[in-house]
Symmetry: C5
Subunit: 352 residues, 5 copies
């Protein structure tokens, strides 16, 4: 469960805007990749000697910051592009609630990229911060692997739509990619639920208890991330065209629909995992019922027999049956009759 | 459960507007049926050599596209009628959330036609996309059988109301048909619930556990579809008369009431299936209780008897009772008395 | 449960506005009663030779239509008083969601009169349609017995307030009557719940399981009817004074409060029936616990005794105790001691 | 449970505004106390010979009506102070939903005073009606003991704030008093819950089942009363200063906060009583588990012993062990070993 | 549970605005610390001889009142700074719902500082009242230790941002500190839940029942505090810049996001603790199931053996087997076969 707490809180009492990294460091060295592109130009180079590009109209400047644990680097970028101290704090404070804040200098969006690890029944999340200013987009992350590599690949295509559009469309493309991953995670969670269901119903392994519990927690975690992300999307769709151009708005509206769909699915999964839990509980009660039936059948058959054989083990002087020639055979017959009768009786009651 | 995942997600990272069919192909060959009608004309013919009809005022042009898996065809229709790339993507992306999007060129509505398979306790759903432009209605589907055949039948009637009205009324008629099917599905689901209830209460078959679970999931699925569909209906009712004429609005308002009713029913079914689940659980506990009562009765009667007969099977030298003439008979009497006494006792406690 | 489905759906594909009666016919012959009244006039007569009264200012014309299964009759009335085809369809479509629709010609309200059958734990509902036009009120029902007889009785009183008021006040009076019946039904449902509670707590009859289940369903049904009815009441209170005069509005606002109260009560009953269900489940577990305690006590006492008597039933040559004079008596003593000790032990553990 | 139904419904079909008392009569004779006060005057006298005081500006006239079962008296007061017939009906109709209605002549507020009877686990409620007109406040109740005595005591203090303020502040004072009582009841309910909790956890008395059930119902009842009362408070805070003067509004806003707090507490209690119920259920299952463990331990120890002693009770001719000198001793040894081994085994499994 | 009731209610009937302290006294002597600071001045001194500082523009005056049980002191401060009597009452009435009230003289905010005691599974809360007037901030508390010491430490830094800002920013800093503590408490609660989870899953100690119950109550308590606190934050963000300057608003908006995050977490914990409770219940049922399986296995193996040995303990004259040479050996063989067969049988059924 410690997975739910990727967050190490700041010490209370620090002045607001204090820059403290609260997550887990995942990459050794921080790394800033700079991409500058326009309709017909595309260049990509690593940050070198603190030379930060100046965003200029007609081109889009994209800074891909990997390794937010490097507080100095973040501070440098922040002061270079006039990012508000509170934004800087939010970038470093891993475990934030997804949010969108509008400042005079730009828009800050914080959200999570998700991945599902089916074996450990665990969703890993990577907080991503996006800062959108005119002709500039900066994304901050600790280590979202090549999450954004595919974006660059698309940029390389000469007549790619993205090349003709502004930083707002690039923002959209990044968000869209993350949302696509959400659906992948959701599909994997669904497969995990199907597996659980089969275990319960067909293989009778009620050891699945802790798995159900953990999956329930993971779904609950996703829910906690995805609802505020929907709010973020709502806010993006209400931004003025100063930030988001009209033709990009259509795409963002479409993305909003997708996020809404994801919300529906998560809500539905929550219902389903509760259903699985109920099914498991019922299955256990039912199994207990069956076991007790077996016990009762065994007892009902053998307890009377024990008494019967006990009777003829008594040492009374005067027990006429003991001297009968066929007494012993008769007892076998009586016991056999009781045995068969009981079997038929329980069969009739559908216990066997 | 794999039924809940008719959806095969696109690979994340594709540019938005990429046309990829994500559902299951159900028909061999795609097929476009063209219906053009007005007050006094009605013609129907298959699409031939890519000759697409031009919608003209005074007549309604209806394209019935079956087999959306044919990406080229969809693309062709899209470019012919100026449909936005995102709409094209949505048509092909099976498993969408029901939605209505308004574009400059037309209205796009996406929703599901439902059918219930009582034997497999499974609701099958078919995604339908409708594109409404002036004097034009296009419906996209993979294979909704003759869902729309009845509409054409109604068009054939000369003075049918539909003949005098525009594409908006045709849109209404298609939606109305789908909603009518919803109620059919709901009735069948209710019958399935009644059957479950009877099984639990009268035939004592707690094997119904997995059926309850599955029905619960199906109802939960329906809920997931029908709530956003209600939102779609709300949005339709708010469209300006550019798209929906005033006299058609009355019909759509009425349809909205029906969808609202369906929502109520689904919500009610959810309550009911939970009730059925509880009933089943209680029934199992109760049965366990009965079985344990039987076990306890048997044990309470025969355990003391076992001890009694054991006593007189002991080999002590000095056991006066063994030499009594009627000792043996007396023991029978004592045992019989205990037996009857216990029966009366348990009868009084209402255990028997 | 088939009681929840008094509705027979229309065949999908029928054109909207098609008149098909979907309920159960309850009266043999349809019957229209006409009441015309004003401040000083009151006449009542059956419909004769299709002569429909013309509503005129200063008087109120009230048509009481019983037996909506007669489609022709409904159609005749509809066309006579210019009722919209969709209203006609709604009148005949039994099982509608309570609703209010405003048309140019008049207001249409659809809702249910309820009655509770305590023996079968079942609420019967009768759909009522009201059409309010200037100086005219028509009510449509299949068979709501003498539900409205009391209204006429009140009209007969010369200086009755109703005589001085318009069709809107008559509408109010009819709604008020139906709501009064709701409270009666609610009281009867409460009595049924009290009975269940007593059965569970004092008479220990867990056979009440299916009764709890059915009552829960009935309450859930009522909830489904009463929430939309509250919406209807909200809409009525927002109608312009063209339809509802200002002094009638005060009465309708008061009625709205009553309906709201009924909603609260239903919601409360839902809580209570869930509580009853929980109580029953706990009661069963508790009883199981008691039964197992008895079993354990019996086993704990008699199993050791069985072993003891078994020991002295063994046939070893060298068993000194067997030859003791008071061996047998001693064994009785030991067994008695064990028996008493166990009883005291379980008494201390509060099991007995 | 009949306590939830202090209400005797009116016969359906009575004209609205019919005056019928529907509660239980609690006082023998109705009684009207008249208090007239201003900054420097205070007089109090019983109603005498139907002489009703005329409210005049500068003074506040307060009528304290006790015993609303006297329909004639209520009617007299109603007509004397021009109270709307629907208000009169509401005053007499005990079991109303708390509400505020604004009429031309005055404001009518209906709500409940509560008291908790810890022994019977029952909340008693007394419906109070307040009618506020310019310079006049009338309160109607059947028997709220000396609930309002303390208000009068405060009036007697010469420079009491209340003396300088109008009827609206008096209204506030009455409401404030009732809300203070709510908190007392809530505290007592909490104590009852604490007692239950202790019973379950420390004294193991699962007989608390019906108490839990009843407390749950009572909390649910309170919830039903307090939510609409909050709505009443919201409405009061929105009244224009014609009715409530600006400086009284500050007090009423504060009171609204208190009511809101009470709502939070009730909601929290609901959670807690559900938690108590769950705890109880778990406690019962756990106890069952323990009992079955005991049974299993006993059986596992003594059943093999029974077989062993049975073996040497067999009468085979050739059983060498029987003739061994230390056979008998050996058997004791074996049995003792099994006994001890089992104890250790179960101790290891933490069953003992 | 008495911890939930740190509140001792006022006696109902006291006039509103009566000053009665309702909490528990925690410090011996009340103590007022005065801090006056501006850009370049900072002084701190205890209140001496009732000399209260006069707030002046350009500087911020901060009164830190510790020990609200001293009613006279509070009254003195109240009259000195023109605080409304209702605010005074709220400061003394411990157990209030978090709230913000706007008066002409200033803003009053009431909320709670939290701390978690992991050993007693208990959240301790300290009510804090803040009064914000132009250039003045007063905080009232009984004993929040050095909660605010860190604020003063930050003030001591010469170029601290706080020194340049007004009383509104100081208000923000105090709130921010309290919210930071919330997250600490939430982390500790999460650790407590993790511990519970491990206990249930790995150490099989179902004695954790009461701990689950108590943690659930504590989470429910937090929820009760944090929801209204969010409302307070919403209200603060809507205050006009008369009270909160524009550049402080950005900080408060950020704080609002944090509180919202805390709300999400509490809601999530509620889900999780319910999940833990379910897990525990299932775990108990499952354990019961296992125990009963053991019982059934033992019974099924040894009951038939008991009958077999009983048979050959019978004393019939004619029992041929008794005289067989290998009879005794054969019986051992039969019993051994049954024993092994049963073991294999149960192994196959996966019971062992």
């Amino acid at each position: 469960m410690s997975k739910h707490k990727a967050v190490k809180r700041k010490v209370p009492g620090l002045p607001p805007g204090s820059l403290v990294f609260t997550g887990r460091q995942k990459v050794e060295v921080s790394d800033v990749e700079i991409v500058v592109f326009s309709c017909d130009v595309l260049s990509k180079y690593p940050l070198h000697e603190h030379k930060y590009p100046v965003p200029s109209p007609g081109t889009v400047t994209w800074l891909n910051v990997k390794g937010v644990h490097d507080v100095n680097l973040i501070q440098e970028i922040g002061s270079r592009y006039h990012i508000h101290p509170l934004v800087m704090e939010d970038i470093l404070d891993i475990g934030q609630r997804p949010k969108l804040d509008e400042y005079d200098q730009g828009i800050f969006i914080s959200f999570y990229a998700l991945q599902f690890d089916a074996i450990e029944v665990k969703i890993t999340k990577e907080q991503i911060g996006l800062f959108l200013a005119p002709n500039l987009l900066i994304d901050f992350q600790e280590d979202a692997d090549d999450l954004f590599a595919s974006i660059y690949t698309r940029l390389e295509v000469l007549h790619s739509r993205m090349r003709n559009k502004g930083a707002d469309y690039l923002l959209y493309a990044l968000l869209d990619l993350v949302v696509d991953h959400y659906f992948q995670v959701l599909d994997e969670v669904e497969e995990a639920m199907e597996a659980l269901e089969t275990e319960i119903l067909y293989f009778n392994k009620p050891i699945t208890r802790s798995k159900i519990y953990e999956l329930r927690n993971e779904i609950s975690q996703m829910r906690k991330l995805i609802y505020p992300f929907r709010d973020v999307m709502t806010k993006i769709n209400r931004l003025e065209d100063e930030w988001i151009k009209t033709d990009t708005q259509i795409y963002l509206r479409d993305l909003y629909d997708h996020v809404n769909h994801a919300v529906d699915i998560v809500e539905n999964y929550r219902d389903m995992i509760n259903g699985i839990n109920d099914l498991n509980t019922t299955e256990i009660s039912f199994k207990t019922n069956r076991v007790i039936q077996v016990l009762t059948i065994i007892s009902t058959i053998f307890m009377p027999l024990t008494v019967i054989v006990g009777i003829y083990g008594m040492n009374f002087e005067f027990m006429p049956e003991l001297h009968w020639k066929y007494g012993y055979g008769l007892i076998w017959g009586v016991m056999f009759f009781i045995f068969v009768f009981m079997l038929i009786f329980f069969r009739k009651k559908k216990w066997i």
